[in-house]
Symmetry: C2
């Protein structure tokens, strides 16, 4: 099991420095909306409108931008069906499922602890 940053650097090199690819990916998947979009897609394929409703408070602009970023990263897949009215579906890729497998325990912990953390203020 991973227990330290040093351990990660042993296998992956000098990582998380400025301009490093790891920083970029981290910014994408740990961004305010990135996490929530990925979380919504964990339960399965969703259409644009469903995502808009599922991710509470997101604007159309940020949804579009977040989806494009994550798609370019190969973490989610966009499928457009040539119908009228148009139908577009978003789903996690295999890479995305790998990612969420590791993010879910973290998110679950936050869900359980958040009340206590914010309350104690």
């Amino acid at each position: 099991m991973v227990v330290s940053l040093a351990q990660i650097r042993e296998t992956s090199g000098e990582v998380f420095t400025e301009g490093c690819p790891t920083r970029v990916v981290l910014d994408h998947i740990m961004s305010k909306w990135g996490v929530l979009v990925l979380l919504a897609l964990t339960d399965g394929t969703l259409r644009w409108g469903e995502l808009r409703r599922e991710v509470d408070g997101i604007s159309e602009k940020m949804l579009a931008s977040t989806l494009r970023t994550l798609e370019a990263d190969g973490i989610i897949a966009r499928t457009s069906y040539p119908e009228v009215p148009p139908r577009v579906e978003y789903a996690l890729t295999e890479l995305g499922r790998e990612l969420m497998e590791r993010m879910l325990p973290l998110v679950e912990w936050v869900a359980q602890r958040a009340d206590g953390i914010v309350a104690e203020r």
Copy 2:
């Protein structure tokens, strides 16, 4: 094992909605600098100056701000020694160690995959 958002909501209720405490905590620990500071502290206690050097590219302002937020959340502990010159140490709390236990696998995955993800662009 956790496999879905629905599953998390079964035990934690309607979570990750706007204004929900989970959103606040998520913003703190998944923030650009929050992750990197926590990561640095995973390997043990660090002084202010050490953190400044360890977290590549962080400004004094953001370091101070990030540390204050995480301390208020009870995730890190600040210890000030009454010496001249002053010495201040930062470390993960028990809560913080719980958190990093869950965040490290995710970070490790990013460290291993980031090159491929950014390169394929």
